[in-house]
Amino acid sequence: MLEEVIERYGDMLFRICIVSLANRQDAEDALQETFLRYLTRAPEFNDAEHEKAWLIKVATNICKDLHRSIFRNTHMDIDEVGYFLAAEQKDEGTGILEEVLKLKPKYREILILHYVEGYKIREIAQILNISTQAAKKRLQYARDRLRVAADGDGGSKPPSPSASKEEDEG
């Protein structure tokens, strides 16, 4: 059962942990703790989406706890994070990763949830236990800061109709 759940969610959760914490050791700690809690404290899930959202919530809370300990190992290592990029992404991806890691963890998390996992604003707000307004603001801020590293979507070109629709739903 452990292997199964790691196969299903390991990549996603590891992505959240390593981008949030920005070093391999803390990310492994956080991921291990997340799965331990899954095995010992998980509730009965309504469906797979519920299970996924629960795991994300636990992982982000563990990352938050680690950030709270101000004298934890706070080193950020872009090479450690970049190690886990796909081979074809390593060249250009390292520069983008560098820009992402310049953001505070709460903005990095929302980038992953929205752009990689495809969650909408309201869903992100529920998972992170923040208001919809706060989720919107965080995403807007992260996008603005990353405009330089984006591939033209965030430049002077207006957003595509599908992107606008997502924001409206938020």
Binding site: L2, E3, I6, G10, D11, F14, R15, I18, V19, R24, Q25, E28, D29, L31, Q32, F35, L36, L39, K64, D65, L66, H67, R68, S69, I70, F71, R72, V81, F84, L85, A86, E88, Q89, E92, G93, I96, L97, V100, K104, P105, K106, L111, I112, Y115, V116, N129, I130, S131, T132, Q133, A134, K137, R138, R143, L146, A149, A150, D151, D153, G154
Partner: protein, 502 residues
Amino acid sequence: MNKIRETLGSIRLDDETKGRIIAGITAVQEKDTLSARRRPRTAVVAAAVILIVASISGIAVYAEKAEYDKAVRFFDEYKLNSEGLTRNDIKIVYKDISTGRFSYDKTMDVIVNSVGGKELFQEEPDREDIEALWNYRNEIHIFVPKEARPDQDGVSFEYEYIENKLPPESRASGMEFCWDTSFRKLKDGKEVWKVQLRDFNYNGHVKAGEDTIIFGTNTLYDSNTRMLARVVMIGNDGKEKWVFGSPGESRREEYRRGFWDEGGVTLFGVSEFDKLICTRLDPAGELISHRSSGQPVRFYIETAARLGDGYLVLTRNYDQGDTVLKTDGSGVPVDSYVYDSENEFYTIRDMAEFGGRVFLSAYAVPKTDIEGGYGGRHEIADILKYIFDEKAMEIENEELTKLLRDNYTAMLMLCDPVTGAPKEFYSVKGSLGADLKVDGDPAQPDLLKLVWDVESITEAYFSPATSSFTIGAGCHIYRYTFGIDGGLESQTETGEVAGFMR
């Protein structure tokens, strides 16, 4: 944003890392202990130590190298920080932890440096707690101020203000009244002496052996006259021994904290809202030194504690947060600390010196995205917004209590004995750190206890008819007692209640 999606989306867990994680989890499940965790972080270290002690028994006497090797392996396994420790230190710390003795003064530092804050677990309030709170609220309970609580000698102090009508010839600037402070000393509940200090606004006092030094300001001041700091020593016979007035040239000076030793009294205060002042008087009340140091913002002094030959002074400005100033023996700041993290705002409420270290009682609140600063009323900004936006101004007490408990974490912090930099020592969710004091006979320092009060939020309420921007709560007070080695000795629910309002 496609590039962001592609880049971040390509991050994958490799097999080696996956294998390590599975092995770690499996080991934990098999042993059912914390020892397999790569780094025991949020779990209570005391619990981890108990498990370690239970699993290491019958330690034989090893040859020095074997003993040292074992200590090093122990440090590696539990990821303890050995920075700055000699070979001998490492062996002693290992023995201390593995036998549960904690007799070596560096052992506590190693634990704090290695695992950061340790969380103390409290149960969530249940129906019985809320019922007890309701019953407590409906009886008549007078909250006893800190200065009125008896110390280990049974001595306590009380004060109140008395309006004093001025004779016509003394009515400067049209003022008819001044305020006097009536101040009395009690021992075992019986009055020892009582004085009425004319035109005196009480700010604090300090015991000077059998005598008492009281400090405050005049009450007859306005934009044209100065606020003058006043200091008076009262003997144990209730008679005034000496009086000392403002030494500075500023328009406004007041003292807030005092320390007594055989050299006299050291008083910390604020001048002109933004200058830290430190005045030292000898036992006869004669001036030894007066130092004034300008700070970048307006502030007031919350409390202070000795640190080695100098002091730590907690200053507060709600927009900027708390700043701890480290000063030398004459009160000149030599360093400053802002305890801040990316996601949390910290408010420090009390300080105490214990076992040669300074401890801070504080609480942490998540930083809000809503503009306006942090601290004070801003602590509940996100909760209020949720009530306005999502709950149409109506919220059940149960839900509000949970939100409030999620918002607050009490912290006990330990300051580095040399630098003064604070580190998280213990934390309690759903609570606010409150009073901190040292109990016991100073003549027996090994038996002294550090007592930390924590206000645990029990029931919160929102009453928009009273105020749309106010949340109140009743808090049960828990008392944590630590021994001189830093170990937690007891946790008691005191039965006392504190109010919470923002």
